[in-house]
């Protein structure tokens, strides 16, 4: 699979989805949730063949989120890298796992990323951000696993070593 397909396309898709979900739309008078789409490639890239490009791409994607959402620079790069680091560290365990087992690992990666965000913002602001707010964003982001599964499947289908 070319790098443009495994890196470029997910990056563009995440950027576009994040912008669309950042519009001030209200559905039935309620503001829709704000999922962290970038956690999808952060998890999927960790499962793929090791490379130096995913960390670089995650820093870029995280900085984009910082600028889009007005967060302190470096917050989302760090959170995404923490999710990637967990997946990268256990990638041998993950290979060949069932869909639901991988979803569990994805939830763990999302939880680690949100915990890093809570700790970093707690240190910066001097008090812990709302656990309920973070839990809500975590829950919404955790539902995005099918996209990560699809990305990993596409990579494995395209990689001759998996045939």
């Amino acid at each position: 699979m070319p790098a443009s397909a495994s890196l470029g396309a997910p990056i563009l898709a995440c950027m576009l989805a994040s912008i669309v979900f950042a519009t001030p739309v209200r559905i039935l008078g309620l503001r829709p949730p704000e999922p962290v789409f970038a956690l999808v490639p952060a998890f999927a890239w960790g499962m793929m063949r090791p490379s130096i490009w995913p960390p670089v791409a995650l820093v870029g994607l995280g900085l984009f989120l910082d600028l889009l959402w007005g967060a302190p620079m470096g917050l989302w790069p760090f959170c995404l890298l923490s999710a990637y680091a967990l997946t990268f560290a256990v990638r041998r365990v993950l290979s060949g796992q069932e869909f639901w087992a991988l979803w569990g690992w994805y939830v763990a990666a999302c939880g680690l990323a949100m915990t890093c965000g809570l700790v970093l913002m707690g240190l910066r602001a001097g008090h812990l951000p709302s656990i309920i707010g973070a839990g809500w964003q975590f829950a919404i982001s955790a539902t995005l696993f099918p996209f990560a599964w699809r990305l990993v499947e596409r990579y494995q289908d395209a990689d001759a070593r998996f045939r």
Binding site: I19, P24, P50, V59, W69, L75, F78
Partner: protein, 316 residues
């Protein structure tokens, strides 16, 4: 000659180790950026990058918001058509109530004017304001901010307070030529000095990313009650005094929080008050802080403070 043809061509670097090294370097870069990005140091390259990004994001958000507004307007039109009868009855009731309030307001206004004239009170001049649409909305737990489509070209500056339809929404924390970043009261980094209207108590409204910011450093003689009105106190001169903020409510953990007035209505349309922090305003020709005499009290002559045998000051 390519590297593969050279003497090192046969060396195969451990890919996993290189990836781990890249991960470590990227983490260090993220940490350095996080530590180095302070709100008071956004005038350099980081500030310029943010302004450029805000400008671009506001344009993209402006384009994407158009169909959303059309859909919203269409839905509102359908809803108004369907609910026209009940709305009409409600409006008639509101009108009767409003006429009573109008008469009271006119009487109070006249009384106020008379008392002000008697006391010689000088009221603040009305503040100029700019109307803007919010085009992008960050509502996560770590940042609650919005992008408005009015910027430096319309006189907006850092620190300007922002009001929604019903109350204070937040303040401006970044200004691009045609866009500005608004930090909402609910943002985890937001701190706003407020007063409790009934008790004249003071507190700092502290955002935590949730919908109801907490009242920290509360200082009041009378205990708070649910429903007490909260206004900006104007302490520190960053915000004008008396802007409506919300009402006091008890949180799940028993702490005092504020149900924001701005939550009662959509804040897609905001008013940015062109209020200048009056602690920084100095008329032209006025001496600066460095030119002013020291505020430290000089030590009085010993004769005036030296205690006497009875414990009081000695006569001059």
């Amino acid at each position: 000659m390519s590297l593969r043809d050279g003497p090192f061509g046969d060396i195969k670097p451990p890919v996993a180790w290189l990836a781990a090294l890249a991960l470590f370097v990227a983490s260090v870069v993220a940490t350095v950026l996080f530590v180095g990005d302070r709100p008071d140091s956004r005038s350099g390259v980081g500030g310029a990058v943010r302004r450029t990004a805000d400008e671009a994001a506001a344009r993209a958000g402006g384009v994407l918001s158009v169909p959303i507004r059309w859909i919203d307007d269409g839905a509102a039109g359908v809803r108004a058509y369907v609910l026209a009868g009940s709305q009409n009855r409600q409006l008639r009731r509101d009108l009767v109530a409003a006429r009573g309030w109008r008469d009271q307001a006119v009487a109070l206004e006249e009384e106020n004017a008379r008392l002000r004239a008697l006391l010689g009170v000088r009221t603040d001049p009305p503040l100029p304001m700019v109307f803007a649409n919010t085009v992008l909305d960050a509502r996560g737990p770590f940042s609650n901010s919005r992008l408005a489509d009015a910027g430096a070209d319309r006189g907006v500056t850092d620190g300007n307070p922002v009001l929604g339809e019903r109350g204070l929404v937040g303040r401006v924390v970044g200004v691009a030529p045609h866009a500005s970043r608004l930090m909402l009261l609910t943002d985890v980094q937001s701190r706003t000095p407020v007063l409790i209207a009934r008790t004249n108590g003071r507190a700092i409204l502290t955002g935590d990313g949730g919908p109801n910011p907490a009242l920290a450093y509360l200082r009041t003689h009378d205990p708070l009650r649910d429903g007490d009105k909260v206004l900006t106190s104007g302490d520190g001169g960053v915000l004008p005094r008396g802007l409506p903020v919300g009402v006091v409510a008890r949180g799940l953990g028993g702490e005092w929080r504020v149900a924001l007035d701005s939550d009662a209505a959509p804040i897609e349309f905001v008013r940015i008050l062109l209020f200048k922090d009056f602690s920084q305003i100095a008329p032209p020709g006025q001496p600066g802080p460095a030119d002013l005499p020291s505020t430290a009290t000089e030590a009085p002559p010993p004769a005036t403070v030296a205690p006497t045998a009875a414990g009081g000051p000695s006569p001059p």
